[in-house]
């Protein structure tokens, strides 16, 4: 049972850096160090393990400007076989629906058994894009999986819930979103990094995907940004008095 697995990946500003908004209210992405979204390494690791076990290939699909190649190279050096990068100035400011249309159109160009994604991006936190992609592809989605395994063309997951977890079984093809911690992502090896340079990266524009200008027009826009009210500076204590001060604080709050 050879598997064609697609992983949706996003290039995000360095999560350790300090993100800023530009004058157009969009996140400043130029001149900012970026990386593969750490949340995307979990689905990628899951995809690599599935294809290592069953055979098959992992294709990484990403939308973003040229620097997104950094994220693609990382994914390829971890072991993904090939990548598709959709870059188009028309996609600047794309919202979740536009992004989902672009990604779904790119995924549809090749055979796929499984589309894996993180549960939400580290910069935007929208957390609904894979479900929208699933609906556009007309396939089921087993979301919020903390465990994924594939057998006999059925994907079986443990789905995170408010109270614990559910076991979900779903026939392929399907979209699965994978939580952080579901797998332990591997580090790229030196060999992996060298091999990544030879792996095919297909570059597409919005026109290649046959999407109309209407389908690419964002339907949300930021109209105002203001600083949140700053909290007054609190009291800082250290040393021997700290224990008494915290106990007093809890007593003042009437919780002890």
């Amino acid at each position: 049972m050879v598997m064609d697995v697609v992983v949706l990946a996003k290039h995000v500003p360095d999560p350790q850096g300090t993100p800023e908004l530009g004058e157009d209210f969009l996140l400043r992405r130029e001149g900012v160090d970026g990386a593969l979204d750490p949340g995307d390494e979990y689905p990628l690791e899951a995809a690599l393990r599935i294809t290592e076990y069953h055979g098959g290939e992992v294709t990484v699909v990403s939308m973003g400007p040229e620097p997104a190649m950094t994220a693609i190279r990382r994914a390829l050096s971890m072991g993904a076989h090939r990548a598709v990068l959709i870059t188009d100035p028309a996609l600047r400011g794309a919202d979740a629906l536009v992004t989902a249309r672009v990604l779904a159109s790119a995924v549809r160009r090749q055979p796929f058994d499984l589309v894996l994604a993180g549960i939400e991006s580290t910069d935007g936190y929208t957390g609904t894009l894979p479900m929208t992609v699933a609906e556009l592809l007309g396939v089921p989605a087993a979301t919020f999986a903390r465990r994924v395994e594939v057998n006999d063309r059925i994907v079986r997951t443990e789905r995170q819930t408010e109270e614990g977890y559910d076991v979900v079984e779903c026939p392929l093809p399907a979209v699965v979103t994978v939580t952080a911690g579901a797998t332990e992502p591997r580090y790229p090896t030196l060999k992996g990094i060298m091999q990544a340079k030879q792996k095919p990266v297909e570059r597409l524009t919005a026109a290649d995907l046959g999407l109309s200008p209407e389908e690419l027009a964002p339907t949300q826009s930021v109209i105002a940004v203001e600083a949140a009210p700053q909290k007054a500076v609190g009291e800082i204590v250290q040393g021997d008095d700290a224990v008494t001060r915290v106990a007093d604080f809890l007593a003042e709050a009437k919780v002890i």
Partner: protein, 319 residues
Amino acid sequence: MAKVWVYADIGPEGPRPSALELLTKARDLADTVEAVALGPGATGAAAALGDYGAKTVYASDDPVFGEYLGQPAAHVLARLVAEHVPNLIMFATTYDSRDVAGRLQATTGSTLMSNATDVLGLDRARTEILGGTKIVDVSLGGPEPRLVLVRPKSFAAEPSGGTANVVPVVAEVPDELLKAHRVERHEEPASGPKLEEAKVVIAGGRGLQDPTNFALLERLAAVIGNAAVGASRAVVDAGWIPYSHQIGQTGKTVKPEVYVAVGISGATQHVVGMKQSKRIVAINKDPDAPILKLADLGVVGDALSFLPRLIEAIEARES
């Protein structure tokens, strides 16, 4: 005449609190407030939904909505939308509602905004970004209904004393949408009060150094009483403690009387889930940790030596 819908999550004990919060807000936004409830317990929940402002509840108790993820509910909701044409639908940020809202936007071509902290009108909502340091107003365009996923506890739930007219919904879900099958449910037992309801939340992060040190937080919770233990994403990802304890953007939102952050640096991901706490105490070795800027009382020091002394001091006061 504006029409606002609330997609109401129904739990084992009736409507989830978030559904009642959203209905309370919906009353400020439109003359016609209606709810959609799909799955076992939906009809039974209508009285409570009516009490918080829904004049009509479109309800189906069909088990199909609980047994299969996303697709059946999104399909039926899309049908109801085409029939009744609401201007705006509010969803709570829960796993099931995220599945439904994400799918619905593909069908209707509507805009979907996530993580809203306020809804300002039929085409405008507010969120906080960059760790809650910036407030952002977003204009929602494109075809109606506009869809908004709202963070829990964004509004206080207040009853209006109304009653709802129940409109039964026939499920009629095509077989090809019965795929992602929930075959087992597991509740992970938690001792003590729920995180969302506890008066005190004690949360641990990387600074605890080792998973076994969570026992210190458990002991502190026990001496305080009515206290629950939470965690940052970093230690949940590392497998130190189950996900059900996670506080933050991806986890739970809490608003206790006192929040005690132990060895948590204060990343954006975490802060949005606890910044509404009434009082915040932070214990951190690093004097530059962002969490100390948020704290009403900050302790700069080593949590592992501090906590046993604090537990002792509280025990001494209480005896």
